[in-house]
Symmetry: C2
Subunit: 206 residues, 2 copies
DNA sequence: TAGCTTAGTTATATGGTGTAACTATCGTTA
DNA sequence: TAACGATAGTTACACCATATAACTAAGCTA
């Protein structure tokens, strides 16, 4: 399970590039691996370039050859998380099926991904840093994640946006509180609540 | 509006206490004021005791007379935010009315509070810091905020928890994405979406 | 193989948390 | 009211973090 996400996260190193570029990409990937680990253990505020450098056996300033700044690294992580989620959502969609099936699949895949990658989900949809603005690619990817939902609700154009938003907010409402740990100690099954919430968005859908 | 929340946030200084304690409480309150400002401007990770001290015209170590650590200050802020929200929710409930009225009022007051205090809402319900565990009082306050919702759904005991959770997740789903800025640039009115979501939880309710 | 590019180093500026030891001031009480 | 004790605030310091500058060493390429 862990290995699976690890593999999915791994950067593809372009074999056509020269050895320098290959090496560079490999180090960048390795830095990101360590960064994810830190993010999971200490949150975004605990992410430390110095600590990563130490773990990799180099000095901190060396990392600035690979990432312009701590923020830059964080941006890469955010983009990589968006890409990963977008790929997964899109992968469930290509299989076709009825809108009901597709929306259920989308909901499931997002929740599974969020549960397997709490810190990643929270990085995308949790508390944003006030000053920080995501790069354009992030917005694009967010749209790509949303698009299959809109597509599934497209039978009634007047209602498409509203129903898509409702799907999004209901799905996010459960997942967000679940991965943030706000349900711990409460006597119920989040999976069931989630299923019922997804179902609630499907009325009158084929 | 801002003044209103400012006032609500202000610590009541016990007039019975001696002058030393009075002074102490006043400084503590002043520190928290500055802390809120920083939180709004730079997020939780940008909260700096040193900066607060500078703004207050004292040196950073002096603040440790008032707060054991940065985390301790943050905990105080979290508790104060919970208290504020709990008071507001409870205030809407005492007025009585039908369950529908009460739930609508609760939803409205939470959203208004969240919009007026984005950083506060996100501090309570946004990304948690992995290591951090909230004090017992926080859990109590969270329960107190949830209780009026459960009360409004108490007519059918079998469904109380499920419907209360649904209310919570739907309300949070919209508010969370709204205050995090994920709706910016989208052609729709969050208030309307929110109203429709609250309404959706009220079926068969008197 | 010469030379350029690049990775990584050390040194340093800056800013943050937190502790220790000292000083001055304020309140309380004999 | 004078003296004592508690407390607020200070400086000095240890440690960790980001980030830049200047230098060195290694590797790729022509």
């Amino acid at each position: 399970m862990v290995n699976e996400t690890r593999t999915a996260r791994q950067q593809l190193v372009n074999p056509l590039a020269g050895p320098r570029e290959r090496y560079r990409q490999q180090i960048r990937a390795e830095v990101q691996e360590h960064a994810w680990k830190q993010l999971a253990e200490a949150g975004a505020s605990g992410l430390s370039l110095k600590a990563i450098a130490k773990q990799m056996g180099i000095t901190a300033p060396a990392l600035y050859r690979y990432f312009a700044s701590r923020d830059d690294l964080l941006t890469e992580l955010i983009l990589s998380a968006y890409r990963d989620l977008a790929h997964r959502v899109e992968a469930t969609t290509v299989t076709g099926g009825t809108p009901r099936d597709r929306l259920t699949a989308i909901g499931t895949v997002i929740r599974e991904w969020a549960r397997d990658n709490r810190h990643r989900y929270l990085l995308l949809y949790g508390t944003p840093v006030p000053g920080y603005t995501a790069p354009a690619e992030a917005t694009d990817l967010a749209r790509r994640i949303f698009a299959p939902v809109q597509d599934a609700f497209s039978h009634d154009p007047d209602e498409t946006l509203h129903r898509s938003l409702t799907f999004w907010t209901r799905v996010h409402g459960v997942i967000s509180l679940e991965v943030a740990g706000h349900f711990t100690g409460m006597p119920f099954d989040p999976a069931q609540l989630f299923a019922s919430e997804v179902l609630s968005t499907l009325t009158d859908l084929p």
